[in-house]
């Protein structure tokens, strides 16, 4: 039944292969790098990312945008995977630029960071292209193990090691839940291949006993996804890990893996279990509501910016779910494309905003000083008007104020929810994002209306300044001209 792998299979997986080879090469090459700034390693890492991007474009061109399966349908290459991968490369490249100075000043800039980061990216890519429960799980574990290790990168810090430990224990539990759910679904359908699962689930629509088994498994699968996204009540790790990890690692955790988590949700729920949409959509309603409420309300009480952004992540991921849960209305998938595209747009925009916000924290930190409390933002406008403006754009976007990308993303998922008849859910979401606006605007108020407590000049490497400016302007630009990214997302979703 299983055919041996052919060259075509390997060609389709070219991005992963390039990354794997590159990461291994980097691991060895880095042993010979003496330079504490690790110029050579950085260049290699960037080149690897560039190679991945080229490989992805090559596969896109080769498949002509059609869906292609490889390795006995373990692996799928479609437009959603390509688009998410390209975004992930960008996010990882930005993370590299933002974190370099910070890690260097703290003696954490070692080969391990770069290698772990690239292997984590490999895990994400495998998740994005998974067409089997096993592939998906493999990617997830690869990603998670790398992240656990990265959180503990600063071995001497008790806070970091504690966070890593918690992350590991809870992550293991979540993995267990996910595997258990997968096994239930396997029990009901007899297959691990996601596209086959979809066919089997459709065939089982009349049988009550199997249905129950499926829904039972579904609960656990949704729990696993919810943990990865960090939505309530599977969110407990997020604040502690965000705060405990070195800010550079928090930046990594808070950005690209969200894209992978979104892909995981799409693969499992939409590709595999669309026939159970009625059930999982209701579960997502509960999760989304709890996340938006808890995330936004708790963020208000935070004085630590990293913790605040952690709760903001929880709230944003709840918001993102609004799109996912609006796809199927009364068994009709007519507007599913738009709803899922809205969620995808939201995720990408969130990653962009999150990169900027954490990037700003890294930029304002320097040797012996961590910028992580609200106090540290005071009077930023006096110290650096331009970066205060960039931060203002990012905060406005996170709060969802036009004309920023965050506004348009919120508008898109809300209109998806309203179109699906979830009017009250949309109304509650708007109310809660109003609550959320408070803590973002508080940052703006501190930057513009308070006296600076710290008068040290704000400076950083040139490429970081440029990228951070570009990042903020991109958030603004995508808010004014969201059309092209939105239609890209739509095309990607339609190709599923």
């Amino acid at each position: 039944m299983s055919a041996p792998a052919t060259l075509t299979d390997f060609l389709l997986a070219a991005p992963e292969l390039v990354l794997l080879t590159g990461a291994c090469a980097l691991m060895i090459a880095d042993l010979y790098v003496k330079d504490p700034q690790r110029e050579a390693s950085f260049i290699i890492a960037m080149l690897v990312l560039l190679g991945c991007a080229a490989a992805t474009v090559f596969v896109m061109w080769g498949t002509g945008g059609h869906v292609a399966y490889a390795f006995n349908k373990l692996y799928v290459a479609d437009l959603m995977a390509h688009l998410l991968k390209l975004c992930a490369y960008l996010a990882v490249a930005a993370a590299l630029v933002y974190s370099r100075q910070y890690l260097h000043e703290r003696g954490l800039l070692k080969g391990e960071f770069l290698t772990l980061l690239l292997f984590a990216l490999l895990g994400m890519m495998v998740m994005m292209s998974a067409n089997s429960f096993l592939t998906l799980y493999l990617g997830l574990e690869l990603l998670s193990l790398c992240l656990y290790a990265m959180v503990a990168l600063n071995r001497d810090s008790a806070l970091s090691t504690e966070a890593a430990m918690k992350y590991f224990v809870l992550g293991a539990l979540a993995s267990g839940l996910l595997l258990y759910g997968m096994s239930m679904i396997y029990g009901a359908t007899g297959t691990l291949t996601i596209t086959e699962v979809a066919k089997q689930v459709a065939a089982l629509s009349g049988k009550t006993a199997e249905r129950h088994l499926l829904v039972f498994g579904l609960v656990f699968v949704v729990s696993g996804i919810a943990f990865k996204l960090g939505v309530v009540p599977f969110h407990m790790w997020i604040p502690d890990v965000y705060e405990g990890a070195p800010t550079a690692v928090t930046l990594v955790i808070g950005t690209a893996p969200k894209l992978a988590a979104f892909a995981m949700a799409m693969r499992l729920l939409v590709n595999g279990l669309l026939d159970l949409a009625h059930d999982w959509q209701q579960m997502l309603v509960v999760l989304a509501l709890l996340s938006m409420a808890l995330g936004n309300i708790t963020a208000i009480a935070q004085t630590n910016l990293k913790r605040m952004l952690a709760y903001s992540t929880i709230a944003h991921m709840g918001f993102m779910l609004l799109g996912l849960l609006s796809g199927v209305v009364g068994g009709n998938t007519y507007s599913a494309g738009e709803a899922y595209a809205a969620s995808m747009f939201y995720t990408i925009v969130y990653v962009l905003m999150s990169l900027g916000a954490f990037g700003m924290l890294l930029y304002l930190s320097r040797a012996g000083f961590e910028c992580e409390t609200l106090e540290d933002m005071k009077g930023l406008n006096r110290r650096s008007p331009w970066f205060a403006f960039i931060m203002l754009v990012l905060m406005f976007s996170l709060a969802g104020i036009p004309p920023t990308a965050g506004f348009y993303a919120k508008l898109a998922v809300l209109s998806a929810a309203v179109n699906a008849g979830q009017v009250w859910l949309a109304a509650v979401a708007v109310m809660l994002s109003l609550v959320g606006a408070f803590y973002y605007l508080r940052v703006v108020k501190l930057m513009y209306f308070d006296e600076p407590g710290d008068t040290a000049p704000v400076e950083g490497p040139r490429e970081m300044r440029a990228l951070l400016s570009l990042n903020g302007l991109a958030v603004l630009g995508l808010g004014i001209l969201p059309g092209s990214l939105m239609s890209l997302c739509y095309i990607a979703i339609r190709s599923l």
Binding site: S223, F234, Q282, M283, P482
Partner: protein, 630 residues
């Protein structure tokens, strides 16, 4: 076609680029850099407009979308261009006057510290105005509408250290808000009635919805009243003279204030459906035309005289629209743009020569010192008074003919008001010329010693604008009586027309010409020979003179009723509504609740990993129970 489309884009985008460069990098490129980049950008825009004019005259046109901003609930919000004969005429007029004003500004603002900022603003204004006239949908029209309003606000308050400038800019902004409110309601009503904001689709559906048309047209006209300063929303325009003079010429005479006229002409298919709305338009215009001309006779500030003259002329255009003579209204808009720009820029030339003296009582005899300014101002005044063969004569005469031919209710009143208005138009135009340029010099000796003609950057635009002030009227054949506008606006006005000369002969034989001439003659008598008489007349007319001089007390009424009322209401809402209910209960109350909830929820984040795991498991158990309980 692609090439033309690129040209269409260049017309508005070139001034925008100029504005951005001069505004953001003004310090880097310096003063000369700022004026070169903006003048060049507007010159490019003007050249492109001329090319499009030639293309459209050859029978081409365009109506389409350039960019879809967003689609919501079946309504598409787009940026699109409608290029037809009306649009292209406006484009040429706007870019030409703008170019002249840009050049003039080099001389007028030479010593101003805000030089780059000023150029950036006027280029931004040109962009906004072009977006307004080129639009093919109501949303973009509204965008341009608000954008020109914003730039107008910024420019009136350009000298932001003067309290009077700040007051004037705020007043302009607030009064326009009243108009824009009506305008926005009108657009909203159109959207709800027709489900589209696209001109073409609204116009094609409009005849089927004639019943709601009166309300829509009246609301749209409220917008036009604000922007084109029609009574009683005219109060902002005289005060707007606080801005630098080039602005008065560009924005408050030639272009922005005519946006309302343009809009009504553009919407002529809608206004044709409502006789009531047209009568209202005509009466409002007639009131403005007559009563503002009266006020102009009593003013001494040279710029204010011209400002009230502008109000009166805008009234003429409005009356033409009300009489369904849209092409005549647009024609007067065009001629007025030229001769009013001449008058304003000439006044500016006088003002700089006299070191920012604006009171005509301290001028006099300037014609010997400033011959070019005098001649061009004289041409402007002749055109403004509507004497042949100057541009204003043709357009004004056509308006009076149109009103005479109209049978709408209010047409009789409008005709009488306009006729009287022509008389006072002659009077105030020549009062200005005689006061400022003739008679004995009344300025102090020091100023007189330094009097000289303005530099060429100032006089060149004056001369270039004076040429169309003489000649533009001769196009009356194709524009008004021919079918220049084609289908771009509705044309109801048809008169016998046998060429320019016979039109002029007919005009000389008709009443308006003699009224205008009489006004001019009276001005000559009163201000050249019997200079003691005006004071006596003013005394004799006592209360009437006071009423007119006080601008009929509209400002005081607004101050007393609306401003005070709004303040009272605001204070009441602030104390009662805001502080007690919203701040006390809603904001602080909910903030207290949210804060309390946050502090409680925070306790759950205990930091203990087994509690976290327990939370997750409880979540799984509850979800399982919830979905499998049946």
């Amino acid at each position: 076609m692609i090439a033309m489309k690129t040209l269409y884009l260049i017309v508005p985008l070139a001034p925008l680029a100029g504005a951005i460069v001069a505004g953001l990098f003004g310090r880097a490129i310096g003063r000369a850099g700022a004026h070169w980049v903006t003048i060049l950008s507007v010159a490019i825009s003007f050249a492109a407009s001329c090319a499009i004019f030639a293309d459209v005259s050859a029978g081409h046109g365009f109506n389409g979308t350039v960019y879809t901003w967003l689609a919501s609930g079946g309504t598409r919000f787009e940026i699109g261009f409608l290029i037809d004969r009306l649009t292209v005429l406006m484009m040429v007029v706007v870019t030409f006057v703008s170019l002249m004003v840009h050049i003039y500004t080099v001389g007028y603002m030479a010593d101003d510290p805000g030089y780059q900022r000023f150029f950036s603003y006027i280029s931004l204004f040109t962009f906004s105005m072009l977006m307004l006239v080129m639009s093919n949908n109501f949303l973009q029209l509204f965008f341009g509408w608000e954008a020109v309003g914003l730039v107008s606000y910024l420019l009136i308050g350009f000298w932001y250290t003067r309290p009077s400038a700040i007051y004037a800019s705020l007043k302009a902004f607030l009064v326009n808000r009243v108009g824009d409110f009506g305008f926005l309601l009108g657009i909203a009503l159109i959207l709800s009635q027709f489900g589209s904001l696209d001109y073409a689709s609204v116009f094609s559906q409009a005849p089927g919805a004639a019943s709601g048309m009166t309300l829509i047209c009246l609301l749209l006209f409220v917008g036009a009243m604000g922007k084109s300063a029609q009574f009683p929303l005219h109060v902002w325009l005289p005060d707007s003279m606080e801005g630098p003079t080039p602005i008065s010429a560009l924005i408050h005479a030639a272009t922005m204030v005519t946006a309302g006229i343009f809009m009504v002409a553009r919407m002529s298919p809608l206004f044709e459906l409502s006789q009531t709305a047209r009568s209202v338009v005509m009466v409002i215009g007639a009131i403005t035309a007559l009563f503002m001309a009266l006020v102009a006779v009593t003013q001494y500030d040279i710029k204010r005289v011209i400002a009230y003259s502008t109000l009166s002329q805008l009234g003429y255009m409005t009356v033409a629209l009300g009489a369904s003579a849209y092409s005549v209204g647009i024609f007067h808009l065009m001629t007025h743009a030229f001769f009013k720009a001449v008058l304003f820029l000439g006044a500016g030339s006088v003002i700089i020569a006299l070191h920012h003296e604006q009171d005509m009582r301290r001028m006099g005899g300037l014609r010997k010192y400033m011959p070019i300014t005098y001649l061009t101002m004289l041409i402007g005044a002749l055109a403004n008074a509507g004497l042949p063969p100057f541009a204003g004569f043709f357009s004004k005469d056509a308006i009076l003919e149109a009103v005479q031919a109209s049978h709408a209710s209010g047409a009789g009143f409008a005709y009488a008001a306009l006729l009287l208005g022509v008389f006072f138009g002659g009077l105030y135009s020549f009062r200005l010329v005689f006061y400022a340029f003739h008679g004995e010099p009344r300025m102090d000796a020091h100023t007189r010693a330094h009097l000289k003609e303005s530099p060429w950057v100032v006089t060149l635009p004056l001369v270039l604008l004076a040429i169309p002030s003489v000649a533009a009227g001769w196009w009356i054949g194709p524009i008004v009586f021919g079918d220049y506008f084609g289908s771009s606006i509705v044309q109801r006005f048809h008169e016998e027309y046998h060429g320019v000369w016979s039109f002029m002969l007919q005009g000389i034989a008709a009443a308006p010409f003699w009224f205008g001439l009489a006004g001019a003659g009276l001005a000559g008598y009163l201000y050249l020979y019997r200079t003691d008489l005006p004071k006596k007349i003013a005394l004799a007319l006592g209360p009437i003179y006071a009423l007119v001089n006080q601008k009929y007390g509209v400002d005081e009424l607004n101050e007393w009723l609306f401003a005070r009322g709004a303040r009272l209401l605001g204070t009441g809402l602030w104390k009662g509504g805001d502080e007690a209910v919203i701040d006390g209960v809603l904001v602080n109350g909910s903030a207290r609740v949210v804060g309390w909830v946050a502090s409680v929820v925070r306790l759950f984040q205990s930091g203990l990993v087994y509690q976290y795991a327990f939370t997750m498991l409880i979540g799984v158990v509850l979800l399982t129970y919830f979905f499998l309980r049946t």
